[in-house]
């Protein structure tokens, strides 16, 4: 039951943490922005009062429909999620160094791998709750706007795509956790995540998108060309290897590297 005890303490550490609310606020802004664009596209006359924003929205060729709305939502969860997930993991892992508490944890009669696994579970639960909250918010906003083209099949597909994009984004974070441990703070993992997103964009233009972990989400959600209906088996292997290698590296870092703060 060691894991259960460690997991309970990891959840306790989030109590009164402002960062949880910051991530909720950050992700909630996405559907609001998308809904605003839908409204501008549907009401160009009234939106004209907004000036350039209305012009840009019209130029983008958007249509104010549920399919377009869901497509943008999936992109937001996928791309924004990769960044936000990295932020969450940077906080969960990096705070032990920033707040100086790592040295207290590591001299306890608890295997260090349990801390890594518990923190990853906390990040997963946190991320899952955020995604669910954003999906609920999105449905409420879409319904309020009265967008046309809704169907149950479309909604199920949209939820499936968003959850899958969120899940893929999660598979990338153990490496970010390792960087947080290696860099002992928040900035190195966030810098790494941004660099990987940029590299993912580069790889997407070279035809290697299916093989580079940070290009797979954009490929899947249609940020690179048309959305793919299934993830290639090679991509699944790459994601699985990235996930496992990240966990192994993080545990090794905590177990064998010097932990001088």
């Amino acid at each position: 039951m060691t894991f259960a005890r460690v997991l309970a303490t990891e959840f306790l550490k989030l109590r009164r943490s402002k960062v949880t609310w910051v991530t909720l606020a950050a992700l909630s802004l996405g559907p609001l922005a998308i809904a605003l664009m839908m409204w501008i596209v549907r009401e160009p006359g009234r939106a004209a009062q907004l000036g350039l924003l209305g012009t840009k929205a019209n130029l983008s060729g958007l249509t104010a429909t549920w399919p377009a709305y869901f497509s943008m939502l999936t992109m937001m969860v996928g791309i924004g999620g990769m960044l936000l997930m990295s932020f969450i993991v940077a906080y969960v892992f990096g705070r032990e160094y920033v707040e100086g508490t790592a040295k207290n944890l590591l001299a306890l009669p608890v295997g260090r791998h349990w801390f890594v696994l518990a923190k990853l579970v906390v990040a997963a639960v946190w991320w899952a709750l955020l995604v669910v909250a954003v999906l609920v918010e999105s449905f409420a906003l879409g319904a309020t706007l009265g967008l046309p083209g809704f169907s149950t099949t479309l909604a199920v597909t949209a939820v499936h795509d968003a959850l899958l994009a969120a899940a893929i984004a999660y598979l990338l974070v153990p490496i970010v956790a390792w960087i947080a441990m290696l860099g002992r703070g928040y900035l190195p993992p966030l810098g790494f995540a941004l660099a990987m997103l940029a590299l993912g964009d580069v790889f997407s233009k070279t035809g290697w998108a299916a093989w580079f972990p940070w290009s797979i989400v954009p490929l899947y959600i249609g940020a690179i060309g048309q959305p793919v209906t299934t993830i290639a088996s090679g991509s699944i292997v790459v994601l699985a290897l990235t996930f496992v290698a990240g966990i192994a590296a993080t545990i090794a870092q905590l177990r064998w590297a010097d932990n001088a703060q």
């Binding site: 005890r5 040295k103 001299a107 306890l108 932990n259």
Partner: protein, 303 residues
């Protein structure tokens, strides 16, 4: 490494690139004693403590704590060890009680242990306050409470009196003495201030540039408290030469004053040698060298 040892190291070494932080350290801390680990900043105390706790990997040598070999990443003997490493830290968003509850869960201590240690460390009025609002001294109390919570057999404390006010220091001293005398706890504590721990410890080990340069028990510590003749005199540099010529082998000059050792029986001779050469004596008293001076002398500091 004897069965009587709470901490034993053999040829323990740690190098950071070009800096030899700990150099072939042999330590033997006996069960039930208070061992003061003394050294100036950068002497290698904290690096040693981190190796004792498995936080950093030794470059060479061995560490044994409570009979178990310490290896980085292994849980080893840590269920029986309480520690405070360098600065006091806590989760700032959690209350004092919640911070201690985390320690309780991870050490499998009973629920009542949190309330007990809050009372012991006089944190009752602060128990529901977030750690971020605590003063440095109270953060130190919280860290000590965390170290004591699971009733460890061995306490490894790095500068435990940091940030505590004088009353707090006395309180901690009494607490540690009580833990040793009533519960047989072994205490290994570091400090860079000898006088702070001299009256508490059973033995001290003095670290300097990564090496243990002296170990003293309580009797030897007392014997180090030397007497000397303190002289205020005009032209102190010339006075040193005059006293040397008069046969005073151990004369030191610092801050315009002289310390003449081994001269308590020859005070009139000191006065005659100086006045006879035309120097003015402004003060001439018998003085007592404290342990701090001995420590500073050993480690290359003033006086």
């Amino acid at each position: 490494m004897s069965a009587d040892s709470a901490i034993a190291t053999h040829a323990l070494t740690k190098r950071y690139r070009n800096v030899l932080a700990v150099d072939a350290l042999d330590l033997d801390v006996r069960r039930g004693e208070i061992y003061g680990f003394l050294g100036r900043n950068g002497a290698g105390k904290t690096t040693t403590i981190r190796m004792l706790l498995g936080l950093i990997r030794p470059g060479g040598g061995e560490v044994e704590v409570l009979g178990s070999r310490v290896q980085p990443g292994a849980t080893g003997p840590f269920a029986r060890v309480g520690c405070l490493v360098e600065t006091a830290t806590a989760y700032p968003n959690l209350t004092v009680r919640e911070n201690l509850d985390i320690q309780r869960r991870l050490t499998r201590a009973p629920r009542a242990a949190v309330a007990e240690v809050i009372e012991l460390m006089r944190l009752g009025g602060l128990a529901e306050r977030p750690a971020r609002v605590l003063s440095l001294g109270n953060k130190q109390r919280l860290s000590l409470a965390r170290a004591l919570l699971h009733r460890p057999e061995l306490l490894i404390l790095d500068e435990p009196a940091n940030a505590l006010d004088p009353a707090g220091i006395v309180e901690i001293r009494e607490l540690l003495q009580a833990l040793v005398s009533e519960h047989g706890v072994t205490v290994f504590m570091s400090s860079h201030i000898l006088t702070e721990i001299a009256h508490l410890v059973d033995r001290i080990g003095i670290m300097h540039e990564g090496r243990l340069i002296e170990e003293l028990d309580r009797d030897q510590l007392r014997a180090k408290e030397r007497l000397y003749v303190d002289v205020g005199v005009s032209e102190p540099a010339r006075a040193v030469a005059l006293l040397a010529a008069a046969g005073f082998a151990h004369v030191e000059h610092a801050d315009g004053r002289l310390r003449v050792y081994d001269a308590l029986e020859r005070v009139p001779e000191v006065a005659r040698a100086l006045v006879g050469a035309g120097l003015d004596i402004t003060e001439l008293t018998q003085a007592h060298e404290d342990l701090e001076a001995h420590f500073l002398r050993l480690t290359g500091g003033a006086p």
